[in-house]
Symmetry: C2
Subunit: 300 residues, 2 copies
């Protein structure tokens, strides 16, 4: 029932974009860099008056006939797959060994948080379809489904091993500060926010590997799919990348259907949109941490 700022925890009455505009102008006046950066990145780099800004914000958050799901996809593609694709996605097209090792080391921490965030949803929801969706997702990502269906977490560690990084070594490496910051952001959301916001924070992130995203306007796919049939990367790397490529289509689509349905039922669309935006900011920074870790492997 509330509009939330997509940067801090301030809330406003539903649909009150005038108040949200005043809040951004107020924080810009105090030179709060997070708020200014958010406006520059998402709305406009030009100075404008309160009324124009309110109109920009209203337009930015307006949901058209493609629904909340379509809105989330559009914003996600803009951020990671637009004219200037995210640097990690660019690096992953035909990935170097250091890039993949950076992926392994940081992503193990992401997946541990993934389980915790999904568990918060299960702990708080009263909807059986959400519970069952999350259990399936947690099993696929972390728990595994028996010896023939290793979890993504297990496949990630095997990819590291195939590249010369023993799992004992990987498991003892602490996350980089940006990964730690992103994990903390998601953990606090899980603890504090409505379970539906946590769903919107986590599951649209699986769009990153959704191979159908080009149909929705993405300029690239997560990686060049020809590497799955070539000899450039190890078999364990192919197994890891293929799994995400296949599972994450269904995961992200099914979750966004649930988010759209319950956002309407519970009248939570605007909080969901703000939390989604906060989460893709965290994800953006986390993907850069994967690259940063990759650079450490290059120079070592």
């Amino acid at each position: 029932m509330l509009t939330k700022c997509a940067v801090c925890e301030i809330t406003f009455g539903r649909g009150n974009y005038d108040a949200l505009s005043d809040h951004f102008i107020d924080t810009a006046g105090k030179s709060e860099p997070d708020h200014v950066m958010w406006l520059n990145k998402n709305i406009t780099k030009k100075k404008c008056d309160a009324r124009s800004l309110a109109n920009y914000l209203r337009a930015y958050f307006s949901i058209d006939s493609s629904g909340l799901k379509g809105w989330m996809k559009k914003r996600f593609i803009e951020r990671f797959y637009g004219d200037k694709p995210h640097p990690f996605v660019q690096a992953l097209q035909r990935p170097s060994k250091p890039t993949l090792l950076g992926y392994v080391v940081e992503h193990q921490h992401f997946l541990r948080q993934w389980v915790r965030s999904c568990a918060y949803i299960v702990a708080k929801t009263d909807k059986v379809d959400v519970t069952l969706y999350e259990l399936d997702n947690i099993n696929t990502e972390f728990g595994g489904l028996g010896p023939d269906r290793p979890s993504h977490y297990e496949l990630l560690l095997r990819m590291g091993e195939s590249l010369g990084l023993p799992r004992e070594d990987a498991l003892t490496m602490r996350p980089l500060p940006d990964t730690l910051w992103a994990i903390k952001t998601w953990d606090e959301m899980g603890e504090r926010d409505h379970w539906l916001e946590t769903m919107a924070a986590m599951h649209p992130l699986e769009l990153i590997a959704n191979r159908n995203l080009k149909q929705d306007g993405a300029t690239l796919s997560y990686f060049d799919p020809s590497i799955l049939t070539g000899v450039e990367v190890t078999e364990a790397t192919k197994n890891f990348l293929r799994e995400g490529y296949e599972a994450d289509v269904e995961h992200s689509e099914e979750a966004m259907d649930l988010i759209e349905k319950y956002s309407a039922d519970l009248e939570l669309s605007e909080s969901v949109q703000a939390t989604f935006m906060k989460s893709i900011d965290a994800f953006d920074r986390y993907l850069l941490a994967r690259l940063e870790r990759g650079k450490q492997f290059e120079s070592s």
Copy 2:
């Protein structure tokens, strides 16, 4: 690092049973029925001075060579399987149809809360062995493990159907007030307490169906095992009872090993003991609600 009251949320310095004794005497002076009842049920029905009460409490919570696990088993057996076994256990020995229907209707709500409580543990823990234990437990109890391994929740609903209660009807029946109160107690523990306390609140409850409990001094088993081979109950009832009878041995034993290990590592034994006691109080009341619901089926 704290001693907690086993009735309210008051905490004391570690091992400070003098303060706990003063707290009970203080609340008894104010005629707080919960505290008086707890003392009468667990410690003594006689009036005594603060020093004697402190000694009783110290003895009650002292952990001998059988460890925290042995202490939990002892207290659980005293409460549910002692000289006067719990009325629900007595009724389940050779259960009537109304008793089983009461079980179905109330227990579906218990199992929904079970998933939420275990999910809080997964959301909060940083221990991988705990995460994997909980995921396995949630899958067994609620998610199911494919078509050949239906969940306990599914087996419960099938038991109801075999006794003439369609699942659509069962699923729309609200819990009785005592079940609702117990569920709220567990939900608040999950949200508020340390994940290890939540483990100690939930998993020792699986001792109720542990068929090895007679080796530890229980006067009865959960039900007369001959009903599993006889013709007195439906096949679906046997399937439900057999599953708990088999799974809950491993579930409760493995969980109590984890609780014992991490209580020592994290120095949380005393909080764990208090939360465990609160939880078995809630469970006691919840089992009575199953009987109460059974009586409604008798008269209908």
